[in-house]
Amino acid sequence: MPEMNLVQAINDALRVEMRADPDVVVLGEDVGKVGGVFRVTQGLYDEFGEDRVIDTPLAEGGIIGTAVGMALYGMRPVPEIQFADFIFPAYDQIVSEVAKYRYRSGGEYTCPMVIRTPVGGGIRGGHYHSQSPESLFIHNAGLTVVCPSNPYDAKGLLISAIRSDDPILFFEPKRVYRAVKMDVPEGDYTLPLGKAKVVKEGNDVTVIAWGAMLFEALASAEEVAAEGVSAEVIDLRTLWPVDIDTIVESVKKTGRVVIVHEAPKTCGFGGELLSLVVEKAFLHLEAPPVRVTGWDTPFPYTLEMEYLPLQHRITPALLETARYVP
């Protein structure tokens, strides 16, 4: 089995699906000859030609709007938005059109597409190359939101996403792009959407994370193990519709939960997860659920490591939550 990093695994998933299905096309800014600013689409232009790997004009609304048209016609577009921070010129198309097409047309038209875009901080990107806007999409009914943390999951989830009949936001944690390498099967395999993964079992406290923060959560789980606290770590993988069973089962076991995400706290996805836990496992809670998140400010440049909810902030939250006595 070849070793791949996240960029290579996503590239491989695209290649597998483009070979299997001529209706799969990739479009976006710089996705062609240069293979994307992160090189995720590298080599696809040479293999599949400019008709299937389309360098578009600089207009995210146009990328998504034309992708909608392609999807309505029966194709499987995989648009790339260069950074998630730049998805907002396409926000109207995504929330007013993509999310609602099946519903508002009474099921006549469907709009399957996978919108790939890098998210997250820790790469010296400042305000506009670091954000994690997942909750702004999850709130809009009709969108599936995926965020893998590692190459193996990424490939299997992306292939599933491209085959799905629903529109999907596929967020790629750019801090992980080249940081993690692992064995990834060649060829075709899928992982189910909507299924989280218990990455580390534990009994005292549950940590919910995804994307780049998964590794921070794991590091904290190890760190607190030394202090006798056994943390269970869940990698959500699909953010919405979330795998509620895995979460509830874990929280029923531990009675305690810490939710980690990079996005600002207020109205972030953490608030939704916390609410779901309260709604579904209130009587099992032995401590107040805790959110460890980005601060409620724009994403800073110089101080980004103080902004992010990294290990140094997750560890104390785990200890406090695990040791909480009412």
């Binding site: 038209y109 469907t110 629903d166």
Partner: protein, 378 residues
Amino acid sequence: MQTQAQVVPIRTPDATFADDVLSVIERDGSLRSETDPKLPQETVLRFYRAMVRTRIIDGQLERLQRQGRIGFHIGSLGEEACILGSAAAMRPNDWIFPCYREFGALLWRGFPLQTYVDNMYGNADDVVKGRQMPDHYTGKPYRFGSVSSPIGTQITQAVGFGWAARRKGTDEVVSVYFGEGATSSNEFHTGMNFAGVMNAPVVFLCRNNRWAISVPSEKQTGSATFAQKGVAYGVRGVRVDGNDVLATYKVVREAVERAARGEGPTLVEMLTYRLGGHSTSDDPRAYRAQDEVEQWRRTDPILRLRTHLEALGVWDESKEEAYKQEVEAELKACVAAAEAKAKPSLESMFDDVFAELPWHLKEQREQLLGGPRAKDHH
């Protein structure tokens, strides 16, 4: 704002359209032979009947709205020629992406009147399952798009759709309707630009009806015409007398054929006038002079075509009367049927959000079904 110096006023209705605005039907009902598409008489009669039918339906729906029997209607009074002429110019395998004012085009495509009326009532037989406002239909079997309220969003979609059709090896062409106000939208810009670059088989149909709700076209843009906006994208732009069904047919048909041959997109500015309110929610007397409306009434596209048909001797008052009664009866029956139909089911609220019902919607559906009913107040 000192806009006067900058804005070249769009031609007023009284000035004869300049040479670059194609027209066919003269005031006396004769046809300009240089531009006449020379359609069979029966075809022209079909155009006429479709236009009259559209207008009758418009009037009746407005009445139903006034009576509180339907919630809303957005009509095409005065714009029938440009809507029907352009719809007729599309070949059977072509596609139409609507704005919201083109139910005439929908019916032209064979969409059943009953289904249209069911949409006005949002009942259980409504093709969009009562989920959208009236006049927000979808007609995929008729190669017709899905109406959405946000201005302009259909424009980029039409471009991607047309591109896909060509990639799949067909010669299908997509036409997309929008008002002149929509040319200010992000989506017009992006759609035109992508179409220019992708050489997409798309005909952009701009109904310049002079008004975007209360905003006159002179306040919409500083350009002298809307057709000239094509220059910014390397897209061919043409103007046509949109109150002349034959001229509209001819110009759009040419654009369709060019697109089908791979010769690229065209922006067609169809000069017309919105004789009525923006919708049943609007009273245009609050913002425009009755004079202006009266002037435009003289160029009424239906009267204009009727003059031609009467001059030919193929139409007259008794035929008109008989046809009106036929349409009114048909519509009346549809309305009665629509009113007798049930509402969409409660369960249907949760269908079609995703391909399959996820856990949270199953839960919510149970909550709704197991919970108390709303008093049906509005």
